[in-house]
């Protein structure tokens, strides 16, 4: 933040405020007298990156390797190795209004020519206080809130909140098999949709507009199916505490099978267009490399971690829903570069198709929500004939249901990594505290490490390879 002292002659008629000099030596303003904020500066306080001359070695250390527990000497070496003089470097602001920062992520980059020396992500531009809002909403309303966090994988946000609440309620064991399978099925479709959008935006960031359109086109088929099931294309509030909102519509098997068949065919086309494209290889291979140790130390999860070769997938390592009953592979990469993160996601689409197919075949019959009077509203038909049912229905939706005191942490494998929900109940109908561990938020920490030494163009590729969703980062 620069506070530039300069004068404003009110009648000078000077249209260039930044260049207003002393008008003919009429009066000299004491430098400490008038300080006007630089009209061009934006200010995010301590989050902003400052030039090397202004910061201490400790801060540089924090920026570039404290999480990796480098020694101070190693960090100093790191900064010296890449540093030039102040004249050769330039701090450039990327975002929050930038075509490739996936929403409102803001990065401050220290550039030497086009080479990125330091990176600092600045967040908070999409902060809407959703975690705080959750404390004012009943558990039944909670899923409408969480579904808006990671808006590209809403099902997972609903799922993690519902699972946490059910854990607190102690009804997790009563869950009918069909409800569990529907949840798993919808989540896998959502994973496909999310990864397809990754394909689209990743292509877009490489200026391959065709892959953007193709990715969005394929995703749209899935969104249409979501609309059939839940009535909404996004933010479904479909997975609720106690089961799901409604059973799958008639003929869903055929509909989904057709979508998956088309998708499998299209994936081959996409491979031709993009995965096997030499320019794309040149742009992504060996770019934004992170090793498994660093990725683990930084808390990265999901494809970002798996691309480094660490086979960590909560679906397999800490099975929830019915993932232990379906057959799928955990995809890992070898190099931890941008291409591997892309390849892992593209292969995960195929694995998700596999799981979805197994869900179509193995979907158990039965109820799709818990028949627990406390949690589940009475069926619509009962309300017309029974006064008690009507009152019960009314109570559930206005007052909600009380959840026993306690705290719980539940995590699921979202398309971006470990999505966790920490829920504290004080025994009332509203959570005392809810906290979401957003995988995007944690994965963004890896950006400074991924970008170091790369070019400006690589920075764009790296951001999209992390696939951050700012709604989840800022919550």
């Amino acid at each position: 933040m620069t506070t530039t002292p300069h004068t404003h002659a009110p009648d000078a008629g000077d249209v260039e405020p930044d260049r207003a000099g002393e008008p003919d030596g009429q009066r000299t303003v004491d430098e400490t007298d008038v300080t006007v904020m630089d009209p061009y500066a934006t200010y995010e306080g301590a989050q902003e990156m400052r030039s090397r001359s202004e910061i201490s070695a400790t801060e540089l250390l924090r920026e570039s390797g404290a999480v990796l527990r480098l020694s101070e000497a190693a960090a100093a070496e790191l900064s010296e190795a890449t540093a030039g003089s102040e004249d050769e470097t330039m701090i450039i602001n990327m975002g929050p209004q930038h075509p490739s920062t996936h929403g409102v992520l803001r990065l401050m980059l220290e550039l030497k020519g086009e080479e990125v020396l330091r990176t600092k992500p600045i967040i908070g531009y999409l902060h809407t206080g959703m975690e705080k809002t959750a404390e004012e909403l009943t558990y039944l309303q909670g899923t409408t809130n969480t579904t808006r966090m990671d808006y590209l994988s809403p099902m997972f946000n609903e799922l993690v909140f519902a699972l946490a609440t059910e854990e607190l309620l102690g009804v997790a064991d009563e869950m009918p098999a069909r409800a569990t399978w529907i949840r798993m099925f919808m989540c896998e479709l959502n994973r496909i949709a999310s990864h397809l959008l990754f394909f689209a935006t990743n292509g877009m960031d490489m200026a391959s507009t065709t892959s953007m359109i193709f990715g969005i086109r394929e995703r749209d088929a899935l969104l249409r199916f979501f609309e059939q099931v839940s009535g909404l294309r996004m933010n479904h509030n479909y997975i609720r505490v106690g089961g799901v909102a409604a059973d799958l519509p008639d003929g869903w098997q055929e509909g989904v099978s057709a979508i998956l068949d088309t998708l499998e065919r299209k994936l081959v086309e996409h491979d031709e267009l993009f995965s096997g494209q030499p320019i794309w290889h040149g742009r992504s291979q060996g770019v934004g490399i992170i090793g498994p140790e660093a990725a683990v130390a930084l808390g990265a999860t999901g494809p970002t971690l798996r691309a480094t070769g660490v086979p960590w997938d909560l679906r397999r390592d800490d099975p929830y829903l019915a993932y232990d009953e379906v057959d799928f592979d955990v995809i890992v990469g070898t190099h931890g570069d941008t291409f591997d993160r892309y390849a892992v996601r593209m292969s995960e689409i195929r694995e998700s198709i596999r799981i979805a197919r197994q869900c179509i075949e193995g979907m158990p019959a039965g109820d799709w929500r818990i028949q627990d009077k406390k949690v589940t509203p009475p069926p619509r038909a009962r309300i017309d004939e029974s006064m008690e049912a009507l009152i019960h229905h009314f109570k559930i939706f206005t007052e909600g249901f009380r959840v026993p005191e306690g705290e719980v942490y539940v995590a699921v494998e979202s398309p971006r990594g470990e999505l966790g929900c920490y829920l504290v109940s004080d025994g009332s109908a509203k959570p005392y505290r809810m906290h979401i561990r957003g995988p995007s938020f944690v994965n963004i920490q890896t950006l400074p490490h991924l970008m170091k030494g790369g070019l400006m163009a690589d920075a764009v590729a790296v951001i999209s390879s992390i696939d951050p969703v700012m709604g989840e980062v800022d919550r």
């Binding site: 390797g65 086009e114 490489m206 200026a207 193709f214 040149g282 090793g291």
Partner: protein
């Protein structure tokens, strides 16, 4: 040499002819731009299973016109930190060369048989091109070099960081592709024996086998095509504007019709460069004339060839991701320039061999042998340079971190 219209001195008829030709050239390019933008949007939309513009006029044909009118009426902003004079000059610097280059393109004329492309109008002989300077090809190279200034100065004068990055990219990439472009043009000049575009087209008259694309052995054409794409800042070499990386690059700060002029220049350059390629390599307006007046057929063939190139540029844009800055430089300096230089020397050797009566097969074999040795030497040099550079670069400390039970050490 030169346009015969000036040979008889200046009179009213000559002035009229020149004025009409200039007007036709201007109109051709302007209408071409309007059409090209629509064409590009429609074709790309088709390739991406979209509809594309379809609101303004039949099939959206008037969309470009509507956009142009909108741009004219928009507020013209210039940043406080800009260098005003240069900032305002830059758009003109990029539009003017695009127009001027088109003046040397013969857009029609019969070149087969006894005809040499002249047309008799008002008692004067003339060519169907606005001007035919004896140094036509040099003029082309000069103009494409001047066009760099428009982009470079626009980025520099904006007084903003992203445009500055764009202009640095522009000056580096366009200047280095100029070299490959020039070397592949020299191959054409070598075979045609003239720098005048009219003479170059005349020398290609006959059949497809007489076109320079065949006579120069295809390689200069490919090099020219790639270099021209880079010179035009068309995808996949559009890293000068790179929307996703540097937010539009040199034209980030421009608005209103000044912004429009950069777009105009870009599309105009695309058309002009396609026309130049038709002229240099595909025999210009040359082609068979089965029925009717051959003059009309010459326009037809010219337009068809031009459209083929325009379609190719659109196709590239739809299919390919963008190159990175250093990859672009590698391609230019390490591949295109050595390739076109080697090919030029080979063509020269064959020409000399023909004059001296040497055996062509032997000349080609010896030439290829030398080329292979030279290429090997170059590759070796590049590899050694790479290895030396790697030796200087130290590994980043975070790669040496180890995972232990207590965390990362």
């Amino acid at each position: 040499m030169g346009d015969p219209v000036f040979n008889g001195g200046l009179d009213l008829g000559v002035l009229g002819i020149v004025a009409v030709k200039a007007l036709i050239g201007f109109t051709f390019v302007m209408v071409g731009v309007i059409f090209m933008i629509w064409f590009e949007r429609k074709i790309i939309a088709d390739m991406q299973s979209r509809v594309g513009p379809d609101r303004a006029g039949k099939w959206g044909l008037l969309q470009t016109l509507a956009d142009g009118i909108k741009l004219i009426f928009k507020e013209d902003l210039s940043p406080d930190r800009s260098d005003r004079l240069v900032y305002r000059l830059a758009p003109y610097l990029s539009v003017a060369p695009a127009f001027l280059t088109f003046t040397i393109v013969p857009i029609g004329g019969v070149f087969r048989g006894d005809d040499d492309g002249t047309l008799r109008v008002l008692g004067n002989d003339t060519f169907l091109q606005v001007a035919d300077p004896p140094v036509g090809v040099l003029f082309l190279l000069a103009m494409s070099a001047v066009a760099v200034y428009g982009i470079m100065l626009a980025g520099w004068s904006s007084g903003s960081k992203y445009p500055l990055l764009g202009s640095v990219r522009a000056s580096a990439s366009m200047v280095s592709y100029e070299a490959a472009l020039g070397l592949s043009v020299v191959a054409v000049v070598l075979l045609s024996g003239s720098l005048s575009t009219h003479e170059i087209v005349s020398s290609q008259a006959g059949s497809v086998l007489d076109w320079n694309i065949v006579r120069t052995g295809f390689v200069p054409f490919v090099v020219f095509l790639i270099a021209a794409t880079a010179e035009l800042n068309r995808p996949p070499f559009d890293l000068v504007e790179a929307e996703q990386e540097i937010v539009g690059g040199f034209h980030t700060e421009y608005s209103s019709i000044r912004f429009g002029m950069f777009f105009l220049a870009e599309f105009m350059n695309t058309i002009t460069m396609s026309a130049i390629m038709v002229t240099l390599f595909l025999g210009g307006p040359d082609g068979p004339a089965p029925i009717g007046p051959p003059l009309l057929w010459s326009f037809f063939w010219f337009t068809i060839k031009l459209l083929a190139f325009l379609f190719l540029f659109v196709w590239l844009r739809a299919a390919l991701p963008r190159f990175r800055y250093d990859q672009l430089m590698d391609l230019g300096w390490k591949q295109l320039i050595p390739l076109s230089l080697g090919w030029l020397l080979l063509l020269g050797a064959i020409q000399i061999g023909r004059d001296e009566g040497w055996n062509v097969v032997v000349v080609v074999l010896v030439g290829f042998g030398i080329a292979v040795v030279a290429a090997g030497g170059l590759l070796g040099a590049i590899r050694v340079a790479d290895r030396r550079r790697d030796a200087f670069a130290e590994p980043l400390p975070n790669e040496s971190a180890e995972l232990t039970d207590a965390g990362v050490r």
